[in-house]
């Protein structure tokens, strides 16, 4: 019965998008109301017999609610953005709700197309939107292949009936790559930075936080049907590790306000991909505690990433109105709530305690470094190497986030509070609640993890030790490690207050030292120049005239591939199918000759 409510809510969102004809604000208000209703449904437990649906629904609708409230104050792009915004949410809801392949695909395509229309709402974003659409269609094609295979082998389109299919590895692999394209994993990552940076910011938040979350949801859904063979996890680990490194390195040297968080999304999705691979390995070796912890980490990491990234995109959207380049930001005006949100979001993504990013990063590294429990040597080495790359990526993320803070939020001055701040306030309070009480989230998701792996996180992975009361310590396995984020938070507050109270508090403000000359400022281009210079080969850094040029070599690779395909097809068009009747007759005669030879057995190997 509860599923019927969800279908009605989908219709509610679709009608909200129709209302945009009248007024944008009505659309956003209706979608905010719908999202709040979804949050209530997810928390109230009426959907609790649907595996991972309540958890992902809760996460998505928190982002939807705050994005809708933010859009009430942000949107100045016209009615098309408002209606496609609501349509995107409707399609995503359909994806979450679907239990068969057909509605899943309808939702997937609807999400891609609606997002495409929303991204192209800006005048100069057509190319980025088109690349987004192309890769979106690639992911749909891969999903269709996978679902068609499943339908062929099990004769059913319902997910629940696919368990035990005899081509599961291939089915899973195709679906995995379909979801990987949407998560912007390595070799499919080039669409994300242009699409996210040229989209309007409420859409960017939606794309980055929820669209990529749909990829994670899809993979978790497939994993809960059946786990594939272990070699699939090697693919996931390697691709995910490279993705994390690439995303992090490019974020650290990015000079555009919205491109930096986009690359950070690529990095975080890479880490989630790695964790899903580690989950498969843990399940294969029947280590139920480790697999439960790894799945818990995947879910927590997805939660932290969506919330923090959406908040960062909100604040970046406010900054972007002053200049899209970090280097040229001057006299940025942000309200105090926006500045605080920017700080907290960026610090969370840089994995600074006590914020959720720190907890998620700790859990991820604990999950990866418990690979010593895996008996197989090559997978042990693989996981540890990828774990080192993940740690590197998390470290470099600090550079990009401090860049965002120092050049974006730190230099902002006051401005009145407006509706955009209400949207940010929702996410800010969720972040702070989760930093203080992550156990509540773990309890919320423990039932589906228990039914998947046989270990209930609420019982086995939350405990107490020494002075910490039972229920506040997160354990990363049997007798491995533990951390209590609640007490880290409390300890930090106590420590900071003590230091502040004891200090003399004499502050003198001076200019930056620049050799005594003019303009003593360390600008953002030189902040990351060390990275660009020492990793010259990776960025292909070049100095031309007075400018420095660097870029993503894979993007250039795609452009080169596209050009050579077009070149080849031009040659085909001009020289082979050139319109000359005589040549066509020659082709027909040759084909007839070869066919006769083949049929009558003229070829020695055909019998």
């Amino acid at each position: 019965m509860e599923m019927n409510i969800l279908y009605y809510i989908i219709i509610l969102f679709i009608s909200a998008s129709a209302f945009a004809v009248l007024s944008k604000k009505i659309t956003y208000v209706i979608s905010a109301f719908g999202s709040a209703w979804l949050i209530y449904l997810a928390i109230s437990g009426s959907l609790s017999d649907h595996a991972f649906l309540p958890y992902f629904l809760l996460l998505s609708s928190i982002v939807w609610l705050s994005a809708s409230v933010y859009s009430i104050g942000y949107d100045h792009y016209g009615k098309r953005l408002a209606s496609t915004f609501a349509l995107t949410i409707a399609s995503m809801l359909l994806i979450l709700v679907s239990r068969d392949a057909l509605s899943f695909l309808i939702g997937w395509e609807g999400m891609t197309i609606a997002s495409f229309l929303a991204i192209s709402a800006r005048k100069d974003s057509m190319r980025a939107a088109y690349v987004f659409l192309a890769f979106g269609e690639l992911s749909t094609i891969l999903l269709m292949l996978s679902f068609a295979l499943a339908l062929g082998t099990t004769h059913s389109i319902f997910f629940a009936a696919w368990k035990g299919s005899n081509m599961w590895n291939l089915i899973f692999l195709f679906a995995l790559f379909g979801f990987a394209v949407k998560m912007a994993v390595f070799t499919f990552h080039i669409w994300l930075p242009p699409a996210h940076s040229t989209a309007p910011s409420n859409m960017s938040a939606l794309l980055s936080a929820v669209l990529t979350l749909m990829g994670v949801y899809g993979i978790v859904r497939m994993l809960s049907i059946q786990v594939p063979s272990i070699w699939v996890s090697a693919v996931m680990l390697i691709l995910g590790g490279i993705t994390a490194a690439i995303g992090s390195l490019h974020a650290a040297t990015s000079e555009k306000v919205k491109e930096l968080p986009a690359y950070s999304t690529i990095e975080n999705d890479g880490i989630i991909f790695v964790l899903l691979g580690a989950y498969i390995i843990a399940v294969y070796h029947h280590n139920s505690v480790l697999s439960a912890f790894t799945m818990l980490t995947v879910l927590f990491y997805a939660f932290f990433h969506s919330i923090s990234k959406a908040l960062l995109f909100f604040t970046a959207g406010m900054i972007e109105q002053f200049s899209p380049n970090i280097n040229e930001l001057k006299d940025v005006k942000l309200s105090n709530i926006s500045i605080t949100s920017g700080y907290i979001a960026a610090l969370s993504l840089a994995a600074i305690p006590p914020l959720p990013g720190f907890i998620a990063e700790w859990m991820a590294l604990e999950a990866l470094f418990q690979s010593f429990e895996i008996p197989s040597v090559k997978y042990k080495i693989l996981i540890v190497s990828v774990g080192a790359v993940v740690a590197l990526a998390a470290g470099i993320a600090t550079i990009s986030m401090t860049k965002m803070i120092s050049y974006g939020f730190k230099r902002s001055t006051g401005r009145k509070i407006s509706m955009v701040d209400a949207g940010m306030l929702i996410l800010l309070s969720v972040i702070l609640i989760i930093s203080l009480f992550p156990q509540s989230l773990i309890d919320f998701v423990s039932q589906p993890v228990y039914s998947l792996t046989g270990v209930n996180p609420a019982v086995n992975l939350i405990g107490g030790a020494l002075a910490i009361p039972k229920g506040f310590l997160i354990l990363s396995g049997e007798k491995f490690g533990g951390m209590s984020p609640t007490f880290v938070f409390v300890f930090l507050i106590v420590l900071v207050s003590l230091i502040y109270g004891i200090s003399k508090r004499k502050i003198r403000y001076t200019e930056a030292w620049a050799g005594g000359g003019e303009g003593g400022n360390y600008n953002s281009l030189s902040y990351s120049m060390i990275l660009r210079y020492t990793l010259k080969g990776f960025y292909r850094t070049k100095e031309e005239g007075c400018r420095v040029i660097w870029g993503d070599i894979f993007e250039k690779g795609y452009v080169v591939t596209a050009k050579s395909v077009r070149y080849a097809s031009n040659i085909f068009r001009l020289y082979l199918m050139n319109g000359n009747i005589g040549v066509y007759i020659l082709y027909i005669v040759t084909a007839m000759f070869l066919t006769i030879l083949y049929v009558t057995g003229g070829f020695p190997y055909v019998h």
Binding site: R508, T510, E511, W513, G515, G516, G517
Partner: protein, 212 residues
């Protein structure tokens, strides 16, 4: 091979300030000291007007013209005055501001880090940024364009900080004028000489410690 050479040579660092400076460490010219005769007669011959009632050591440039008028060139180079000391000793960082010198003071300062004088054993270090500095060491006659960088460097230094002016150009303008660094900023210590010999510099720097 240089290890064996070094071991054979032994320790060459000077024992100053624990012992008095030897004859080799003192420049041959020395500082003029009035022995006999009327000091007023010599006041016209000094190019920097250092001689009036007594010899102003901070203006003297050692041209030796006053030798004929009853001055004797001695070897005492330990002439420095300190108004304000640093509240600590050991690990003192010096930021050098060359406000337009002839580079002679620079060379003498360079000699302080060679193995013979070895500034580091006394706890002084040079730093390239004022943010880490305790002493701003000014040499040279402050030219117009160096006023602003010098003041900005002082502004960029954290408390506690002192300004040391070394050489006759910095302390009193030398042959270039009548005013030294104290025209622009409060000078806490002065070291005389043109250029100040390494022993003189060490003497002045050691006086800025709290202990001496």
């Amino acid at each position: 091979m240089w290890v064996i050479k070094g071991l054979r040579k032994g320790i060459i660092t000077t024992k100053y300030p624990d012992e008095k400076p030897t004859k080799d460490e003192v420049p041959e010219i020395g500082v003029p000291v009035h022995r006999h005769g009327d000091i007023k007669a010599a006041s016209g011959v000094c190019p920097t007007d250092a001689i009036s009632e007594a010899l102003d050591f901070y203006k003297c440039i050692f041209c030796q013209r006053c030798e004929d008028y009853g001055f004797e060139m001695t070897g005492n180079v330990e002439i420095a005055e300190v108004n304000r000391k640093l509240p600590f000793s050991g690990s003192v960082h010096i930021f050098l501001v060359d406000a337009g010198s002839c580079n002679a003071c620079n060379r003498e300062l360079d000699m302080l880090t060679n193995p013979y004088y070895d500034l580091h054993r006394l706890g002084f270090f040079f730093t390239p940024t004022p943010r880490h500095a305790d002493i701003m060491f000014v040499i040279g006659k402050v030219t117009d364009r160096m006023v602003e960088p010098m003041l900005k460097a002082y502004e960029a230094m954290p408390e506690p900080k002192i300004v040391v002016a070394a050489g006759s150009c910095a302390t009193s303008g030398g042959i270039f004028g009548n005013e030294g660094v104290d025209r622009y900023i409060n000078v806490d210590a002065k070291i005389s000489g043109c250029p100040p010999s390494p022993i003189g510099l060490l003497y002045g720097l050691l006086k800025t410690y709290r202990r001496r």
